[in-house]
């Protein structure tokens, strides 16, 4: 027996050895940093993992991250953020805001062509604007554009947007992708064939979409900022995160988002990968449906906040790859109010507050009753996000300690959004927001943003916050705006719209053969078209015309 065991061990060792040896011999020059200095070459493919398939490949209709992963490479907006978070032109060569903030003039680039060769003009911008404000179009972005008073085409390459009121985030909003007029005109955009076969202006052209398998894009040789070095951009749908990690270890995926436990995995797993970690512009929260009782009472939410230990969640769920949240702005935002203290953890005080609200354990079963009736609520979150699932479980445990009974329900993402969030069919949710860089969060917290597909689905209603958000977006001076956002965070401390749990870090692994990656405040993908792979390390080859 003993000798047999030894043999198996030997064989396993041999295999391991063979595996590592064969890989390292293939890629010996990979660690060679000097190759960074040689000049970039074209070729190879970049394969990025996605947990689910895209819905529409139309930037006006799609709002899911899987779709935007693809759309970001196919389409351009008029403006974009550069690597240091400053707004700069994209399809617009330059732009100019009038002194009173009511007018913006965009000068468009002249040599931009749609992927089918048709020139891009001001007509396309106007068409996109008209589509966005058309009430029959199923877009979640309409409110960003219905506030426009007038839209004028000055000439083929100049447009002028006129607003009723000065609107500070309006420039950022023109980062909205522009769609081609000649493709969509005369078709119902909600069902157009181009929603599955997009034509854009971006660095990559659409090539093919195999439902639930992969979406393949190819480099656009006529891209106005130059042809990208990487020939193919491929989104591979791998619905299981554990399998994604196995694929990464086999080097069949080039970019994978890492979970905190994967981030701390053995170094040998990342032999061929660079890891990138940066604070994400996002927060995760526990939100309550304030149209239901007793969630409409801010005292209830404050009591829940006292009963939840955010540090436990960050330690247990994020393995400390994140920071405790105090409000809707992450620390790297200029609107972040550092004077707001971290919320207190005091279950005893929470229990007292609940008693004042009419919660009491009448039948001595260990669970609190509310006004004489049995009380429990359901925390819903989406499937496939393990952090949220774990957070829900920790919250459930912590609330159990003060006698609040909760159920955890985990639902597939699109159902969750369409059936539960949009219909207000929930008691409590654990969700997160990825934020825009401009601190205007009117659409998240304003009491008018509560239509089915709008974003204040928690139904937060605080007239002072409404007023402040309205005011802040009309002012261009950052210092003045800052004061207003500071004030909003002070109000939200007393009347929280939800329980802000944590600001997560975003972590990913990118294959080491990709050169030219330049981590910046905005992330790593800002200069994707400049990424390249040395000839000797290219893994995939294409017979490009």
């Amino acid at each position: 027996m003993k000798s047999e065991k030894l043999d198996i061990k030997k064989i396993v060792l041999l295999f391991c050895f063979l595996f590592f040896f064969s890989c390292s011999s293939e890629k010996t020059d990979q660690q060679d940093v000097t190759s960074d200095n040689s000049s970039p070459v074209y070729g190879d493919a970049f394969i990025i993992a996605s947990l689910s398939d895209a819905s529409y490949l139309n930037p006006v209709l799609a709002s899911d991250t899987s779709s935007s992963l693809v759309l970001g490479q196919i389409f351009n907006g008029l403006v974009k953020y550069d690597k240091d978070l400053n707004l700069t032109g994209d399809l617009a060569e330059s732009f100019e805001v009038s002194k009173d903030g009511l007018e913006i003039i965009f000068k468009l680039r002249k040599n931009v062509k749609w992927h089918d060769g048709v020139p891009f003009t001001a007509q396309d911008v106007k068409f996109t604007y008209e589509t966005l404000i058309d009430p029959n179009v199923k877009t979640p972005y309409s409110s960003n554009f219905t506030i426009i008073k007038d839209f004028k085409i000055i000439d083929d390459y100049t447009v002028k947007v006129i607003y009723d009121k000065p609107f500070a985030p309006n420039l950022e909003r023109w980062g909205m992708s522009i769609i081609p007029k000649h493709i969509f005109e005369g078709h119902d955009i909600n069902t157009a064939a181009a929603n599955r076969n997009p034509v854009g202006t971006g660095p990559y052209k659409f090539k093919s979409w195999q439902t639930d398998q992969k979406i393949i894009l190819e480099a656009n040789p006529d891209y106005f900022e130059g042809k990208p070095y990487i020939s193919r951009y491929i989104v591979q749908i791998v619905p299981d995160q554990a399998v994604q990690f196995l694929e990464l270890r086999k080097q069949s995926l080039d970019a994978v988002t890492l979970t905190p436990d994967q981030w701390y995995a053995y170094d040998s797993f990342f032999k061929f990968y660079n890891k990138f970690r940066e604070p994400a512009f996002a927060f995760t929260y526990l939100g309550f449906n304030m149209q239901r009782k007793p969630f409409d009472d801010k005292k209830f939410i404050l009591a829940m906040q006292l009963a939840i230990n955010k540090k436990d969640i960050i330690e247990g769920v994020l393995l400390n790859t994140g920071k405790e949240a105090i409000g809707p702005y992450p620390p790297q935002s200029w609107a972040y109010n550092a004077d707001i203290p971290e919320s207190e953890y005091n279950p005893q005080k929470a229990a007292e507050m609940l008693k004042e609200l009419g919660f009491e354990d009448i039948n001595n079963d260990g669970w609190l009753e509310y006004k004489g009736k049995q009380f429990e609520f359901t925390i819903t979150t989406n499937q496939g996000n393990k952090q949220r699932e774990l957070t829900a479980q920790i919250v459930q445990e912590q609330l159990k300690k003060i006698g609040i009974k909760t159920n955890v329900r985990i639902i597939e993402f699109s159902t969750f959004i369409n059936q539960y969030i949009a219909k207000r069919e929930f008691d409590a949710v654990i969700m997160g927001w990825s934020l825009t860089l401009d601190p205007d969060q009117y659409s998240l917290w304003h009491s008018k943003q509560t239509a089915p597909r709008e974003y204040n689905f928690l139904s937060y209603n605080n007239p002072e916050v409404d007023g402040l958000y309205e005011k802040a977006r009309s002012i261009f001076d950052i210092e003045t705006r800052k004061k207003i956002y500071y004030r909003i965070q002070e109000i939200m401390e007393k009347d929280p719209p939800c329980i802000f749990l944590y600001y997560p870090d975003s972590m990913q692994a990118v294959h080491k053969r990709f050169k030219g990656i330049n981590p910046a405040p905005i992330g790593i993908y800002h200069n994707f078209i400049e990424w390249w792979v040395p000839k000797s390390q290219q893994r995939y080859f294409f017979s490009d015309r």
Binding site: T211, Q213, D240, L246, K250, S414, A451
Partner: protein, 323 residues
């Protein structure tokens, strides 16, 4: 025989209708209505527009009338449009069929190739060491969680040995490969999912065959055969085997609906674009046209499988005659 067939086919009509009634009822009583989903995509919808949509979809009508309208469309094979992305439900289902059938046929074939000899051998060598080892293996196969086995196989064959791809149906450069490279690419992607989806059914089937064979070996005519001085090989392969394999017909017949059924777990773990993931997603998203489409097709195939099994029985076993 022919008369019997006609009779069976006629009988299956009310059964199919019954199945659609039940499917429709279950769907109707599930919380959430189709039009709600449609309207949730539109933030600016007014209450008049809501009423108009409800009318448009006939949801203001009584249940029996709604069913009748749905039924009329299904007769001409119109299953309606998916609520998720507006594509026809039939198109979404048909798109999945090739990959699903491919996986399932291969696993049925593999299952037969392995399970039949194993079942026979353990019956003939009943309680031998080999039989006992096989029994243990069979029970391990049967009770091991599919997703775990899948991940382990991925680690061993995909990662350590590097012989096979881990997930997916084809490599992304599939279309640019030569014919032989394409075949190998597809085959190598299929090996692990086929093995994993065979494991459970292999265990069950080999047990069936074993007990079928044991029953047959107890029969008098087998003793007669032995007493005539025939060799064991002749007795087993010429006399016993045919009768022992009869239950196989039922099992194969019943696996016909499984051909397009698909398994959600296996398909998710292997990122396999099959019917299981489509069906699961449709149910989770209350995508009624797709759910009803899949439901009707599998009901139809189940009945078909039953009839085929009955016919094959009559063909294989002269003792059975239908009237």
């Amino acid at each position: 025989m022919f008369q019997y067939l006609i009779k069976r086919l006629l009988y299956s009509i009310p059964i199919i209708i019954g199945i659609t009634v039940i499917t429709f009822a279950v769907m109707y009583f599930t919380p959430g209505k189709p039009v709600d989903t449609m309207m949730d995509f539109n933030p600016n919808i007014t209450s008049e527009a809501k009423d108009r949509l409800v009318k448009l979809y006939g949801l203001d009508k009584p249940v029996h009338e709604q069913y009748w309208n749905w039924f009329k469309r299904v007769i001409v094979l119109d299953f309606g449009n998916s609520f998720k992305d507006g594509r026809p439900a039939s198109e979404k289902i048909i798109e999945r069929i090739p990959a699903t059938i491919l996986l399932n046929i291969l696993s049925i074939i593999l299952m037969l190739i392995v399970a039949v000899p194993v079942g026979i051998y353990s019956a003939v060598r009943k309680y031998s060491l080999f039989d006992r080892i096989l029994t243990v293996i069979v029970f391990i196969c049967f009770s091991a969680p599919v997703f775990w086995v899948a991940l382990m196989l991925m680690i061993v064959f995909g990662l350590w040995l590097g012989w096979l791809p881990i997930s997916g149906l084809t490599s992304f450069d599939f279309n640019e490969l030569s014919f032989f490279a394409k075949t190998w690419d597809l085959a190598s992607h299929l090996i692990l999912p086929v093995i994993v989806s065979t494991l459970g059914s292999f265990a069950v089937l080999s047990r069936y065959i074993r007990s079928g064979m044991l029953d047959v070996l107890k029969q008098d005519y087998i003793k007669t055969a032995y007493s005539k001085g025939l060799s064991e090989r002749q007795v087993i392969f010429n006399h016993a085997l045919k009768n022992a394999l009869l239950p196989l017909i039922t099992i194969i017949g019943l696996s016909i609906p499984g051909l397009i059924g698909g398994s959600f777990i296996i398909e998710t773990v292997f990122s396999y674009p099959g019917m299981g993931r489509l069906g699961f997603d449709a149910i989770m998203a209350r995508d009624y046209p797709v759910i009803m489409g899949i439901g009707v097709i599998s009901a139809f195939l189940t009945l078909l499988g039953n009839i085929v099994a009955d016919i094959l029985y009559a063909v294989a076993d002269p003792r059975i005659r239908y009237r």
